[in-house]
């Protein structure tokens, strides 16, 4: 699996190199590094579908959010705080940004850099929401924030903002 993502990303890096001066490897490298996005961007839900159905001993917390979504930004400190209380436990936190493609550079990346988020951040730009939100959970009404917490035995979907840290922690606690 790691090899696959390596190859996949290699492909992206390669194709983004096209048109650069291929006679000078150093220069190509510098250009690529500068252009490489610090956040993985997926334009189709299919590319991340397996993230929602893993069968191992890790508990996954996957939060859908966007920089333009006020309640999402409000609850983010609660999610970040989990890294302290669940340090050493098998909890994987992924923040899936639904920021729009034209706001990833201007809004999302500066936001993530300024906040120095400890959670993993990926961006999903698949705009055909009706085609994929039910695959995360059929109870997803169509707005954010939503949070899916699951492991091999249990699955909880929360279709609303967490009112405070305790509300979030009590759900996560129930997985350990």
């Amino acid at each position: 699996m790691q090899l696959w993502s390596t190859l996949l990303l290699g492909g992206i890096v390669l194709s983004s190199c096209q048109g650069q001066d291929s006679s000078n490897g150093i220069q190509a490298e510098a250009i690529v590094r500068e252009a490489a996005p610090p956040i993985p961007i997926y334009d189709s839900f299919d590319q991340i579908a397996s993230l929602f159905n893993k069968q191992n001993d890790t508990t996954y917390l996957i939060n859908f959010w966007a920089t333009w979504c006020k309640p999402c930004v409000e609850e983010m400190p609660y999610i970040e705080r989990l890294h302290e209380d669940f340090a050493g436990k098998k909890l994987s936190v992924v923040l899936v940004s639904l920021d729009f493609p034209d706001q990833i550079e201007s809004k999302l990346i500066p936001f993530v850099q300024q906040r120095q988020l400890r959670s993993s951040v990926i961006a999903l730009t698949d705009g055909n929401y009706n085609a994929w939100i039910d695959r995360v959970d059929p109870a997803w009404g169509g707005a954010i924030p939503v949070t899916l917490i699951y492991n091999a035995e249990k699955r909880v979907f929360i279709d609303r903002q967490f009112s405070d840290y305790e509300a979030l922690k009590s759900v996560v606690d129930s997985f350990f």
């Binding site: 990303l9 890096v13 993985p40 994987s92």
Partner: protein, 220 residues
């Protein structure tokens, strides 16, 4: 060329490790998609397709009050809960204008209602509704659900959220305007237009329910 390949491979490997680390050593693939499950046909509370929608009496941005009964020649109504601040509502503004310009002459005007509490979202105040309506020259009425009394009766949950009614105020379609909020050029199914066209032919809209993608309705 060899040197270039080496550099690219090094970058690819480095990037691959970085992605794996990002996803906590569980890189994503597409081998085990969760199967979609059928969508519920009703909103959580409020109206379902087939119900008779309540009328209302709300002030518009022209400071006149409007009720559905006042639209005497209407064959139906494109009741749209929407607002100023939500990016999805903004993305649909031009399509809402086009919808009204196409279907109001056929008897189906857009009736836009802002359901948000300005105390919770100051950008959705009545005064700012007036400003936005003027900026965009809304050709449809833009009403303020003062006191948030109407949207719960309809069961609106998001902005924008469409309730297509016929001339008896019977709900014929609930949901999204079309299947691509973000980019009108990528739309493949125009749910509301198809639903009205079906009514015009004397048929049932299909689908009669979709999920409205957008922002939650704001309240304190």
């Amino acid at each position: 060329m060899k040197k270039l390949m080496f550099v690219l491979l090094a970058i690819a490997l480095g990037a691959g490790i970085w992605v794996a680390a990002t996803l906590k050593e569980n890189p994503v693939d597409s081998t085990s998609a969760v199967e979609a499950v059928e969508v519920s046909q009703v909103t959580a509370a409020g109206l379902a397709v087939g119900d008779i929608a309540p009328d209302f009496n709300l002030m518009g941005v022209d400071r006149k009050n409007y009720s559905l009964a006042g639209f005497e020649d209407a064959k139906g109504f494109i009741v749209t809960f929407t607002c100023n601040h939500c990016p999805f509502a903004v993305m649909y503004e031009d399509r809402l204008i086009a919808l009204h310009n196409k279907y109001a002459p056929l008897g189906y005007p857009v009736i836009a209602i802002n359901p948000n509490d300005p105390a919770a979202e100051p950008a959705d105040s009545f005064e700012k509704m007036i400003v936005r309506a003027q900026e965009k020259s809304f050709p449809f009425v833009y009403l303020f659900d003062e006191g948030q009394k109407v949207y719960p009766q309809y069961g609106a949950e998001r902005t924008p959220h469409i309730f297509l009614l016929d001339n008896t105020r019977k709900v014929r379609y609930i949901g999204a305007i079309d299947d691509n909020a973000r980019d009108a050029s990528l739309v493949t199914t125009k749910y509301v237009e198809n639903a009205i066209d079906a009514l015009q032919r004397g048929e049932e809209p299909d689908p009669s329910f979709t999920k409205a993608i957008g922002c939650t309705i704001k309240f304190l």
